[in-house]
Symmetry: C2
Subunit: 903 residues, 2 copies
Amino acid sequence: MSKKWVYSFEEVADAEKYVGGSWEGVRALLGGKGANLAEMARVGLPVPHGFTVTTEACNAYLAAGETFAEGMWDQEAEALKALEERTGKKFGDPKNPLLVSCRSGAKFSMPGMMDTVLNIGLNDEVAAGMVELTGDARFVYDAYRRLVQMFGSVVMGVDDDLFEDVLTEARAKAGVKTDAELNAEQWKEIVAEFKKIFKAETGRDFPQDPIEQIKLATEAVFKSWNSKRAIDYRNAAGIAHDLGTAVNVVTMVFGNMGNNSGTGVAFTRDPSTGERVLYGDYLINAQGEDVVAGIRNTTPIAEMAKELPEAYKQFVEICDILEKHYHEMQDMEFTIENGKLWMLQTRDGKRTARAAIKIAVDMANEGLITREQAVLRVTPDQVDTLLHPQFDEAAKKAASAEGKRITKAVNASPGAAVGIVAFDADLAEKWGVEEGKDVIMVRPFTRPDDVHGMLAAKGILTSEGGATSHAAVVARQFGVPCIVGASDMVIDAEKRQFTANGITIKEGETISIDGGSGEAFVGELPMVVTELEEQEDLQTLLKWADDFRRLEVWANADYPQDAQRARNYGAQGIGLCRTEHMFFEEVRLPTVQKMILAKVESERQEALDALLPYQRDDFTGLFRVMTGLPVIIRLIDPPLHEFMPDHDEVFAKVIEMRVKGETEGLAEQEALLAAIESMHESNPMMGLRGVRLSMMMPGIVKMQVRAIFEAACIVKKEGLEPKPEVMIPLTGHVNELKTIQPQLEEVAKAVMAEQGVTIEYKFGTMIEIPRAAVTAAEIAEVAEFFSFGTNDLTQMTFGYSRDDAEAGFLLKYVEDGILPRNPFQTIDQDGVGQLMKWAVENGRNTRPDLEVGICGEHGGDPDSIAFCHSINQNYVSCSPFRVPVARLAAAQAALREKGFSAK
Amino acid sequence: MSKKWVYSFEEVADAEKYVGGSWEGVRALLGGKGANLAEMARVGLPVPHGFTVTTEACNAYLAAGETFAEGMWDQEAEALKALEERTGKKFGDPKNPLLVSCRSGAKFSMPGMMDTVLNIGLNDEVAAGMVELTGDARFVYDAYRRLVQMFGSVVMGVDDDLFEDVLTEARAKAGVKTDAELNAEQWKEIVAEFKKIFKAETGRDFPQDPIEQIKLATEAVFKSWNSKRAIDYRNAAGIAHDLGTAVNVVTMVFGNMGNNSGTGVAFTRDPSTGERVLYGDYLINAQGEDVVAGIRNTTPIAEMAKELPEAYKQFVEICDILEKHYHEMQDMEFTIENGKLWMLQTRDGKRTARAAIKIAVDMANEGLITREQAVLRVTPDQVDTLLHPQFDEAAKKAASAEGKRITKAVNASPGAAVGIVAFDADLAEKWGVEEGKDVIMVRPFTRPDDVHGMLAAKGILTSEGGATSHAAVVARQFGVPCIVGASDMVIDAEKRQFTANGITIKEGETISIDGGSGEAFVGELPMVVTELEEQEDLQTLLKWADDFRRLEVWANADYPQDAQRARNYGAQGIGLCRTEHMFFEEVRLPTVQKMILAKVESERQEALDALLPYQRDDFTGLFRVMTGLPVIIRLIDPPLHEFMPDHDEVFAKVIEMRVKGETEGLAEQEALLAAIESMHESNPMMGLRGVRLSMMMPGIVKMQVRAIFEAACIVKKEGLEPKPEVMIPLTGHVNELKTIQPQLEEVAKAVMAEQGVTIEYKFGTMIEIPRAAVTAAEIAEVAEFFSFGTNDLTQMTFGYSRDDAEAGFLLKYVEDGILPRNPFQTIDQDGVGQLMKWAVENGRNTRPDLEVGICGEHGGDPDSIAFCHSINQNYVSCSPFRVPVARLAAAQAALREKGFSAK
């Protein structure tokens, strides 16, 4: 006996058995749409009879060079017979005709494949019979022309414009504006015209045999799996190419059978706000596509309670059953045929970030899901979105309704942006940087040459490419909102304009892009930002998350105001305060340069003494804000030449003065140049900086440690509790710490003795040199804490200079899939992560209570946070704005480790 | 009972028992000199009676604040009594006086400690008695004045010049030139004078009690362990400070008792050539110091056969016994007193590199030692020395004899150098670089400011510092011969001259320095170099080494002539052929630049096509020379900007032209500048190079692979056997290899198909990025071989940019002991080595027959070779000149692993 290729909706239990009982397996075998239809049938909801041809049949068909697998067509033919029996109707019977729809349905919802062919089963004879049966010739010939049009364009590949031209002509001839105004006779004529076009384009008559119609439609669905658009989409979305699509054949029900009929789409909750209200639209006496196409003005679903009270009551009950069954907000399609409600589809509903959070919290409070599930249902990106300015959802909706939505494509980099369109990078840079305008750069695609323009733009929109295209990768890299792959958009480079959705935008005109949803709009959409304090649901969710997580969340903050925000957002400490930023401040820089250029020690000490009060003030503010919580202060890290004027500038000046024979001030400039040149390093990233600099010139860090402890004493005397942790950067050998740490601790003790105050403190180190990670056991003998500097650790483990690499080969590597992710965004677990894992294990072997954290940018990346959790770090430290994101991500990591899942 | 602090020579068995039977332990307890005297006594050789106060007694004395340990002095006093009994003489007995010598003796021979006090036991009364006994007043008063002088200066710290002034005056008064011409009466007067000086300087009379003399001398020996010179020496030589020194008290025997007496020093073999002949000098009727001081012309030892045939015969037998006992060439001191031969010292003899090799080979052939021992007895440095030009040993000896040796100090960096003296770095650079002269830079010490001068010099000589001083570290780093710590040298910076050994050298005068022996000479000494082919013993030794080693030794060679030398020296393959060196050649560089600057692909391909024949020729030559052996060719590695003109040069030119208003050619220069600037990277070491460059621009490496395989086909057609292995540099992620390697293999196969020739080949990669080491398991899925690029691996594991670090903090780190060794010279086993170990283990887990080697500079460093052996690499690859060194080092590693030792 051949394999089972076809499952009726009633046979979902067999399918589940076949795949070993897993719901994921059923979805993979029957596709999402088919699985959900079958599931609704199983729980007793009114679903039209139908069946699904499996994804395995699709794969077998494609593998065999577009030939049905053995026994497949026989099974489908049998299923069609069974359908006749169940419905009591017959294919091709003018007296009692059976009509069906045919649709694709893969495991994941996926544009690019054949969508829908309705009204299959109609032919000349059946149409004539139905006119008699229904007495509604207009309905019947409209339905027939739809079949010929859809079948022609979708199944047989006829250019749809040919059909549309006929309609346009017919409307003109009849002197009407809309299709709805055409009468039965006119539709009958149109059917005849369509059949002529079909014959001319395909070389054959429109097939009159319903079974042949179904067979051809089935093949068309299979083939559409490998259409270019479908392949492009899968590449962009990271969907495997070997899943295949199922074919769903479902008995037609008609919402356009009179005023006791209708059709609609609805969500069980508001997908925009998350409110627990039935949300959707319907139309009396209409077919589903009328709702979607927006040809007629739809009616809010609540009105149905008055117009079709019975059906409405039943639908509300069904919504409740479905939410309880799936434990998720559902997005449904339904049709009412002569008062009888039919469910045509259900699936988990897409929602905005705000709605996602509210729904998760509400459902947990309703007891529909657990708090663990609630925490797992919201993505860290959704939390992030809520903390940044976004377009007002109502405004977006209104703009869409007004036809101002230009496109909806791949959401490559989140965020909202408004600006004037520029079609090339140079112009984007000119407008953006030189003229200070907000620019949206629009290109077919981007290349490394375009990066300067991308950086100058507020947003990026491309017509080609997927989620890992150059544009997408660069945009995410630099946090620029970006939409890619807007393939419906036509860019006319010569006219400097683009057209999409019938709208033409010229260079310099304003558009709004939402990188989170992938939508672009004409004109400027209003933006909203809501503070965390005002977001009650998010607060609740994060509170729950805090209960579940093991990782602490700290923040990187250099200034008191940043620390305050971090603390408000839930940070449990400061993981990185960069002291050198303070050195760059205008009033201090000359003193810093004086310190660097000092020829004798006394001169240097004088400059350091002048810097001390500034540094002390910096730390005092920080300790006040963070009282009771640890504050890690990193001692000076960058090479000294970063504090000096640019070499080329001074060099050019010297040459110019020499050529012109100017002598006044030349000697000074030459001396300055010589000093800068003496500091020059071929690879400064790996040069004299961090602890190395301190070993050569301990005065600077001694001043810093003095400032830290003087500040701590001041704050302690105020009755607060400063908890400084002094971090030594760039350690590569334990002997560096063994040499410098005691000297610094001596300063700390001296200050405490002077002030008569005892401060709780730690000394520790960054782990950012591969050798430090490898020799962590020895380093932990001296260091009381480790903080992974994953930016530098990634640079050196890969041997990538970040500045050079990200402007060069690195993004191409990500684009080409050489690197699965940009390792500067998400920790490279196999390489860098392995070193981190060893460091934690070996460090704790030496010092069991070793405090381990991360202060690189990865500290705010959810996947990296999950990794930090998995290797038993104590905390992650990220920018203040990402603290809520990290709180959620840390909780999710803990929950997943324990086996919890969102479903 | 108190601890045993004193061992008579007869009690060596007790000492051995006390330390658990180890000879090393005996040496540690009794010092080298004491242990050897006792050992000679044990095997029945004629050693004067005596005893040793242990090193433990010294340590206890110093630890207790210069107080004898409990019971120590009692034991020494008892030993003195026992000595009286054994010799039948008595201390202080004018009729039968016992005289002894007192010397220090640590585990390792060590200058800086108290040397020797002879004739202890003499006093006024004994002297008078001895005059009667011997009838030789001249001898007795000479002996007495020696005691007073040595005791005064060495034990009591009296300035020796005071004594010498008296002698000078006495000679003048007597009208004679040498001490030997002074008569008994004159010596008696001198004794009186010396005693006056003693009293004046020490505030006490010269002690008349022999026991007190010994007690004071014992204390003086103990104290000398902590003299500044001794501490400095130990610091320089890496000797532990807690070893302590022993005190040896030995009965005096006199070689100056007439013509039947004599004294001499001898080696069992020629320490210069290694020949198996008794080698040394003696003097009839003389004391030991007369031989050493060179006051009288010594007689070659062979003459003794005629002059003192009995003693000579006995001495020859003793030499034979000692060699057989110690299985080593011995360096001995002896004295003949009235015809009776006494052995006063034996120790393993120092020897030249040439002698070391000959002696090891001869002894193995004689059956005195095993071949394993022979291989372990020669240091890799000795082999290295023999392959570089050296001073002619005879010339050195002659120069010493002529008093032309300026100093002998710490041998900081081996090699021979001749040049004119310069006293500062700027002058050294001016003379060395600008005027092309050979310069020896002479400084009290060096600092980072001096490096430019050091690099311009042929050799370096300093009066201060030890083996890890700045000068020493830098010199070794750059292979510049260097002597440091020549503390007898006085530099007069003002007069621009220095003085040592009574010789004054002015700036600009020529000296010769031997960094291997630590000796400096006046004038130019002749140099010799001997090819390996001519060094039969070395060939034999290396042949034996080959039998013992597991590691293969390959060589790094870019050109056929280098490969030929490597093969002659025993290389078993080429581990690294750097292809980019070929790109820098004058005729090719313009084409390379054209390729780089190409705007369109066709232009680039044209340039590549032009380069192909050059590269093919390069490889053809290499394959011919290395027929039958593997040749690893590394594809292009450096960033492209290295092939372009210097930025600052072009930049300066552009600015100059602009300022001057010159327009002709300005556009070209500006375009060139723009191109160079577009290639600029902040950290080029970690930028677009290696496989990254190939991924972006595969044309270059495809051309190279084509050239490699076309060359191989040509050579194969000649009947030879080329074995190319193509090496991809800088791999960091397996996907890089997965992408590029198949493309290259395709080119290889295409060439072989075109030529109709099959070539045996491999594709593999450098492991030089930390991530590659960490993810070796995955990389070995694609790569067929690994070659550790330990230069870059060290750079990135430490995060050190070598160029910057070695000119900056790195050498200071080594000097200060932050880093135990320079990791660019010897593999850092804890960090870099750990990564290598993991890479080998994980790589072989994936691919058990993975070929693993090293091609960094470490491949020629003996300690690093031992490490490569220990982690089971297949081969090391080093410069052709170091191949013999590596062969020996590899064998030694294998032997030591199996528990063999040199002894």
